[in-house]
């Protein structure tokens, strides 16, 4: 099992009721990890609007994840 730190921002913090999770998983990419995380919530966010990052870099949904990675799920920006 690999260990991941998961970060949620904005309204996604309310969806998962936390801003940070540490989980163990066998998932190998962000997409499958996200599907696994969805089993914890009832209010399913629109995946199309979410951006993802690994270790403080924007990446694609099919990006490979490694043990100890920090993975962030970001709703659409609303700054300015």
């Amino acid at each position: 099992m690999k260990k991941f730190e998961i970060l949620f921002f904005g309204k996604l913090k309310e969806t998962w009721n936390t801003n940070k999770l540490v989980i163990e998983s066998n998932c190998t990419d962000i997409e499958s990890l996200y599907e696994e995380l969805l089993t914890q919530v009832t209010d399913i966010p629109h995946k199309e609007s979410i951006k993802v990052a690994i270790n403080d870099e924007f990446v694609e949904w099919n990006s490979v994840i490694s043990d100890q990675d920090t993975i962030a799920f970001l709703p659409p920006a609303s700054g300015g």
Partner: protein, 140 residues
Amino acid sequence: MFRLSETTIDDSDLKTQTLNPSSGGFVCFEGWVRNNNQGKDVQKLAYEAYPKLAIKEGNKIIAEALEKFDIKKALCTHRVGLLTIGDMAVWVGVSAAHRDAAFKACRYILDEVKSRVPIWKNESWSDGESGWVEQEEDKN
């Protein structure tokens, strides 16, 4: 350079940093917290950021502007934390030899920061409720 600020934005200091002897033009945009949004009375708001990624993406946008437009210098600072009505939320300043590039670059930086930099707005309304603000339609 792109910065996040947890305290009041010092616009005069930012202007001083942006001006330079080779530029004949300076264009600035200041975004202020207003008391209404999407039909609701806004009391205050909080900006949350993903700081490391926000600074990286913000600096990438500044670098793009320097590449795309004939400008000399560009700076942008965005507030994070609690803000009240009338507080400055974002400052963008551009210096250039001539006005056209300065106007265009300032607009480019602001538009890209709003859509790409991971910052989120949580508003508190007069009815006692609060909530995360969705990305607004382009109000130009």
